[in-house]
Symmetry: C2
C-alpha cells in the first residue's frame, strides 16, 4: 500500500504516477487473438470445437453446444429461495432504472418548414460474454442482459466457457430470469469471433458486451466496427473519499470489497485525517487475516492500494477528476457539494450508508462502468449500447427553396458539382 | 453498374453478394500504424516533424506548427459573402438540431427510499481530424466541431495535414465559425497518436472524431480505449427508393452525388418500374459525360452502382434493412409508410424534394453517419459522442435495510465476502 500526503514534497509527481500507472496486462495478445479470429471466420464451428477442447478441456459434440432453456429454468427453480428472491429483486430494480433510460424519438418541423427528427431502434441481436471461473457472476449477466431486453433486442445470446463442461447454475438461473434466448458453451476470443462473424451453428449478432480476460477484451477491440462493443474493460477500481466521522471498519470493508476482485484491482482512500487513515490501514490488515478472499485482496491492496492524506476534502474533487475512477464513494455528511465538482467518474456513491457493493447488485444503475480513467470519455453500460438512432429529414418545395441555395454554394465550393446539381435540378429558379 | 431484379432466379444470392461485398480497403495497414503510434508515443514532436516532412513535404519548424486564430478569422472574413452566409446558415441549423439532443440529468428517489440518478458531463477536450486533399471539407469540420461545442467541450483541437504547407482557407473559415480552439498542421496516423497520447506541444484529448484515410481510421481503431472515438468510417453509400413518378434526371443526380465522393462509394436504386430504371441509367450516363467529377463518379458507378427492379416497393424495406445503408432516400408520395418499416439506416431522406445533399450541408442533422452496414448497431455523430454519464446512488439506513440483505446474499453466492461485509457492517440486524 502506498501512503501519500498532499503536503509532502513531490506529491504532484507521486500522484501523477498513481494516475498514469497502467494496471492492465502488459501481455501483448494482439497477434494471438488476430489469428484466432481469422481461424473462426474461416473454419467456423470446427475452430470452436478445437479451441474449446484445447482451452476448456471438453468436447462440444459430447457435452452439447448449448445449454437449453429448460436447463436454465431448472437452475432458477432449484435456487435456494432467499437467493432466488435476491436475484429477482436485483433484476426488478435494474429493469426499472434502465427502463427510464429509454430515449425519446424526435419529430418536428422548424421555422423554414424543414421536418427533422430521429428514431431509435434496438439492434436485431446482442451477444453477451459471460466469463467462466473466478468471474462467473450472475449479477454481471443481469447487468448486461436486462438493458438489452429493455432496449427491445429480439435475440439475446450468451456465450460462456464451461471448463471441463461444468456450468455455473447461478449464471443459468440469471439467464432464465433475464430472458436470454440462447446460451452457448463457448468462451474466449473464439467465442467473441463466433458472435461477430457467425458460424454454421451460431448466427451473428450486432453488438457484443460483457467482461472477459485479456484475450476476450482484445478480441472485442479487434472486432469493433464489425460489431458494436461496450467499452474495453480493465481492472476494477474504487476511490473512497472519507472524513474521520466514519467508522474505520466500514471504510476498510469498502476498500477490501474492491481489492478482492482481482490482484490488479485498485482501492484508493482520500481522507483529511491522518489518524483516521492509520486506523483504516490497521483494520484492513486485521480484516485481511480472516477474509476468505484474502490472497487476492492482499495482493491488490499491497501492490495497488493507496491512501492519500489531504489537508481538507476540498482537495478531493480535483484528485478524483484526475483519477476518473470507476467507483467513487463520498462518505461525508454533505457528499453533494463534492459530487457537484466531480466531472469524471463511472458511478458515485453518496453518503455513509452507500457502500459500493450495493451498486454491484441491487441499486439499479449498471455496474458495467468505465475503468482505467476511461470515465473521462465513456459511460456505464445502458440501453443506448443496444440501440441506434436514425435521423430523418423531409423538405417540401418551399423549404428546399429556402435552404437549398446555401447547400448548392457549399457543394460547389467543396468541388462536388453532382451534390450541387441534385439540389439545383429541384429548384424553381 | 449491376442490374438486378427481385424476380430473377438467384436474386437472393446476388443481393447477398451486394450486401456482404466489402468495399473497404483490403490493404492491411495495422502493423504500419502500430509502429507509427509507438513512435509518436516515444518521440513526440520529433516523430511528428519526421512524418510531416516525409508525408506532407514540409518542415513544421519552418511552416509553423499551428494555424493561428487570427489566420482562421482572416480566412472567414475574406470569404465571398454568399459563401460566408451559406456557411453561417449551415452552422446555425446544425447547432439548433444538436442543441435539442442534449441529454437530461436524472435525480429521483424510488419507493424503497433509494436516491438514483445520472449526470451528463462533456469531455475536457476533443480532437477533430480534418483530412487534407480531396476530402478537405468545411462542412465536415462544422459537423464534427459544432456537436462538440454544443456538448460543452472546453477545448476543441483540429489536426489537419497541409501538404506542401498549403492550408485550405474554407476549412480555416469553418474552424473560426465553429469556435475551434487550436489548429495543428499535422495529419495522418501520427496526428491521431499525438491527440491520444499528447506530445510536448500538443496536449492530449479525450475523444477523437473525424474522417480520414485507411491509416487514420486504423489509428483511431487501435487507440480506441486510450481515447473515445466515433465510429470507424468506410466508403459512403446511398440507397434511393423511387417510383416512376419521379423525374429520372433528379434521381440520377442523387445517385451521382454519392458516386462523386470516391471510387469506393456506392449508389443503389430500388424501383418498381423497369422502364424508369432504364431512364435513370441512361441519364446517369449522359450526366457523367459533363460532370467535372466524372472520373471518380464513373469509377464508383461502374464498379459499385446497383439498380434493383422490384415488383412493388413493398419489398424495399427488407432490402434496405439488409443493406443498412448510410443514406436512404425515399422518393415516393407516401415515404412515411416505408420509413416506418426501415430499422437500419444512418439517415432517411423523405419525399421527392429531399435530395441527400441537403443533409450533407444545411438540413441540421449530422452528416457523419455509419457506413458499411454499421447502421445495424451504430448512430450518426451527436452531442453524446462528446459527453459521458456518471450514475449516482444514495441510500440512508432504512433504504440499506430494505435492499442491502439481497445484495449480501448475492455477494456471498458469488464468493465475494468482502462485498457482503461492506454492506452487513452497516446493517442493524
Amino acid at each position: 500500500m502506498l501512503r501519500l500526503s498532499s503536503r509532502q514534497p513531490g506529491f504532484a509527481e507521486a500522484f501523477d504516477r498513481v494516475v498514469s500507472d497502467r494496471r492492465e496486462s502488459a501481455v501483448d495478445v494482439a497477434a494471438d487473438v488476430a489469428a484466432i479470429l481469422k481461424d473462426v471466420r474461416q473454419r467456423g464451428d470446427a475452430a470452436l470445437t478445437d479451441y474449446t477442447r484445447r482451452f476448456d478441456g471438453h468436447d462440444l459434440d459430447r457435452t452439447g453446444w448449448q445449454v437449453s432453456a429448460a436447463d436454465c429454468k431448472a437452475a432458477f427453480d432449484t435456487l435456494e429461495p432467499s437467493l432466488r428472491s435476491a436475484l429477482e429483486l436485483a433484476a426488478e430494480r435494474i429493469r426499472a432504472y434502465h427502463a427510464a433510460q429509454l430515449p425519446e424519438n424526435r419529430d418536428y418541423t422548424d421555422a423554414q418548414g424543414v421536418r427533422l427528427g430521429a428514431i431509435w431502434n434496438a439492434v436485431d441481436a446482442a451477444g453477451l460474454y459471460v466469463p467462466g471461473g473466478r468471474a462467473a457472476y450472475p449479477s454481471s449477466l443481469l447487468m448486461n442482459a436486462i438493458p438489452a431486453k429493455v432496449a427491445g433486442v429480439p435475440r439475446l445470446v450468451v456465450v460462456t466457457p464451461t471448463p471441463g463442461g461444468e456450468v455455473n447454475p447461478l449464471v443459468l438461473a440469471a439467464a432464465h430470469l433475464a430472458g436470454v434466448d440462447e446460451v452457448w458453451r463457448v468462451g474466449g476470443a473464439h467465442a467473441v469471433a463466433a458472435l461477430a462473424y457467425g458460424t454454421e451453428r451460431i448466427a451473428p449478432v450486432d453488438v457484443v458486451t460483457g467482461p472477459g480476460n485479456a484475450w476476450v477484451a482484445e478480441a472485442k477491440r479487434q472486432l469493433y466496427g464489425v460489431v458494436g462493443i461496450d467499452m474495453v474493460a480493465g481492472p476494477s477500481e474504487i476511490l473512497v473519499i472519507a472524513d474521520a466521522a466514519n467508522d474505520p471498519v466500514r471504510i476498510a470493508a469498502d476498500l477490501l470489497s474492491q481489492a478482492e476482485h482481482d490482484p490488479t484491482s485498485q482501492s484508493i482512500l482520500i481522507t483529511d485525517d491522518a489518524a483516521f487513515a492509520d486506523d483504516v490501514a490497521r483494520v484492513v490488515e486485521t480484516e485481511l487475516s480472516t477474509l476468505a478472499t484474502q490472497r487476492t485482496a492482499r495482493d491488490s491492496w499491497s501492490v495497488n492500494g493507496v491512501i492519500i492524506d489531504v489537508d481538507t476534502l476540498d482537495e478531493a474533487p480535483s484528485l478524483a477528476n484526475a483519477l476518473a475512477a470507476e467507483h467513487v464513494e463520498i462518505a461525508t455528511d454533505d457528499p453533494e457539494s463534492l459530487m457537484r465538482r466531480i466531472r469524471h467518474a463511472g458511478s458515485i456513491f453518496l453518503g455513509r450508508m452507500t457502500p459500493e457493493a450495493v451498486g454491484d447488485y441491487v441499486a439499479g444503475p449498471n455496474h458495467v462502468l468505465p475503468t482505467g480513467r476511461r470515465a473521462r470519455f465513456s459511460s456505464g453500460l445502458s440501453v443506448l449500447d443496444f440501440m441506434k438512432r436514425t435521423s430523418f429529414i423531409q423538405l417540401d418545395q418551399a423549404a428546399l427553396e429556402a435552404i437549398g441555395p446555401a447547400a448548392v454554394a457549399l457543394a460547389n465550393a467543396e468541388g462536388l458539382p453532382a451534390h450541387a446539381r441534385s439540389i439545383s435540378v429541384r429548384l424553381s429558379r
